[in-house]
Symmetry: C2
Subunit: 387 residues, 2 copies
């Protein structure tokens, strides 16, 4: 199911291959987020042209709209949205704990009110696995308790215990034909809790392991620590997935720490505000400096947008609120994230990942926000959550 | 420049071919509206796949943003927006009289305040032709005075006189290399004024003639009359263009009245509200009846959207405000309008236009709004204006 093809000599980075029902995923991989059965602003052909191998869908949102009756009749999420490559679905845990109005946490799940219409719903290990079975995702995630960054040690411990118990309950549920199931490690920024959780979750023998409870509002150093605490306790021969991350530089640094899979709303979310990613960092494509700049967003970039449109034109579209503007920046950013990952795979294959990492980090200038976050400031809410 | 290939025996319909700098346009033709250098929600590849032969750009809007400095530096509108096929630009007259705050109508143009920031601007025959020269459109329109439907006979007469005088001033202006210039006939719903205006404008020897002052709020019968009053006074061997029209059934009826070219915001504008066109009429793709309908918007339709997505999926996307929803309905509607035109051309070629017209009108159920408009009600503001 997962083949570890090569490991880096200068870091914990790994080259791998994950085989799923709907195809092979080369790792390290970035998964664009398609919360409501659509990666925002993009169509499947564009996603394909961006080099997308696998996308993410959201149990919580799809459960609410269009609802499982429609998905069942459509023959699953792939057919509903006409995406033929692999899909990973999250469990809804993150949304229940971050988005919904919780009414009561019970032994076997959470009673909550829909963020949409206030209707009373219940989601737990059994319900989440059942929904993901109907969605027919290639990879289902266990239903976990994901506390915020501000949780006390005592609250994080309770979340870890609940996450472990619920993971066991998820394990007992049937999954769709060929569906892989990944466990999730919680534990905040506490080394002992991360270790304890990782050991208990891996004992349940899942098909892969995610590091959850990151991208929940913590400063970057804490996020890195959380990953570093968990990774040594995860099996070498199975895929590792850091949930909800991250910026391009973070992706490179997390691959170097042994992570294989990522998902994040960042490339498409900031695109809708006109922010484009380049090798030198993120730039606002709305800025006056692009007014008469007839180069592509990034010279040499082979994405659909850079092959066709200039900065001056995209700036105009963004400033007059034309949908094509945010569409094309979404295309560029999605291509960019996929390209950073495929470059890492090529360098891992060639044994030059260390050089790539050094040069990438030296060239990529983080935004002032990210720099502040490195020094301990709380991040702004750009990478978190669902689209 | 314009070849009249065939005329219908049952109506005034004509099959033609218009040769422009950026390529040949087969008529009758529908031109999607790209007000701000973008046909809303669509990219050039999609426009191409929809069978688009020529698009429309707006002098007034492009003059304000991005401004002629940027367009000049880009090397014209085609290069700025990366559209390689023909472009027709309107003169800005319609916008000045409908959108801007007019300060003073002067002998050689109009002093007005920008609808955007209130800045004082001046547009007249000289300025409009100069802007269209910079835009480098294949077809430039003369700067006219387009009165609203509510104008008195006296006001319409003044507009006709001004339109004739300004057309003469436009004729004296230089145009871009190979740029065709079309005159515009005003005259409201008055037969005598339409005839007078048509005779004066055609005497100026333009490359084609538009019927303006339609789609300005009048009931459908008045619109049809306005066209019927003008057409007999326009030369047989030159293209005729009805500005700002119309619904699919109107396009068929106007072709039957001898019109060759059309532009309208309808297909893309209503798409953004979830309305899709079919041979049986317009339908709301948001409706509950599509909830578990896994057919395409229109069975047998070869557009990108119908080849890939179901009504149930598009309904979901529209209801959760996913951009892909309005994108795909925009694709379908643009394809639909182009297909109605290419069907008309095929039937004109085959000598079966009369049967096509009869069957199309019998099958196509107009919306209750359009039916009310036929009986004399004022139309809603869906087809008018710019995108």
């Amino acid at each position: 199911m997962f083949e570890l093809l090569k490991t880096d000599t200068t870091s914990l980075a790994r080259l791998g291959r994950l085989t799923t029902t709907h195809g092979v995923v080369e790792t390290p991989v970035f998964m664009p987020v398609g919360t409501q059965a659509s990666v925002k602003a993009l169509d499947p052909r564009e996603l394909d042209e961006c080099g997308t191998q696998i996308i993410l869908g959201n149990t919580y949102h799809l459960h609410i709209r269009p609802g499982m009756d429609t998905i069942k009749q459509a023959g699953g999420l792939h057919r509903f949205m006409n995406w033929t490559k692999p899909i990973l679905t999250d469990s809804g845990g993150f949304q229940v704990f971050s988005l919904a109005k919780i009414r009561k946490i019970k032994a076997h799940g959470v009673e909550f009110r829909s963020h949409l219409d206030g209707s009373l719903l219940f989601l737990g290990p059994k319900e989440s696995m059942e929904i993901q079975r109907v969605l027919g995702s290639d990879i289902a995630m266990v239903f976990d308790d994901c506390p915020p960054h501000t949780a006390t040690a005592r609250e994080v411990r309770a979340a870890v215990e609940r996450t472990i118990r619920w993971a066991g309950e998820c394990r007992e549920q049937p999954s769709a034909d060929g569906q892989l199931v990944f466990g999730i490690v919680q534990g905040g920024a506490h080394a002992a809790l991360r270790e304890e959780c990782a050991k208990a979750i891996t004992a349940l023998k899942f098909d892969g392991y995610a590091i959850g409870g990151v991208s929940v509002g913590e400063p970057e150093p804490e996020m890195m620590s959380a990953v570093e605490y968990a990774v040594p306790h995860l099996p070498e021969d199975q895929p590792r997935y850091a949930m909800g991350l991250g910026t391009p530089a973070q992706l490179v640094e997390l691959v170097a720490r042994g992570v294989d899979m990522f998902d994040c709303v960042l490339p498409t979310r900031v695109a809708r505000n006109g922010t484009a990613f380049t090798r030198r960092g993120a730039v606002s494509a709305k800025g006056g400096m692009f007014k008469a700049d007839f180069r592509p967003i990034e010279e040499g970039c082979e994405c659909f947008a850079c092959q066709r449109f200039t900065r001056a034109y995209l700036r105009h579209l963004l400033n007059v609120n034309e949908i094509l503007g945010l569409r094309m920046v979404s295309v560029h950013n999605s291509f960019f994230f996929a390209k950073v990952m495929s470059d890492m795979r090529a360098h891992l294959q060639a044994g030059t990942f260390g050089e790539f990492r050094r040069e990438f980090i030296a060239t990529y200038v983080p935004t002032s926000r990210v720099l502040a976050q490195r020094k301990g400031a709380k991040p702004v809410d750009e990478t978190r959550g669902e689209e």
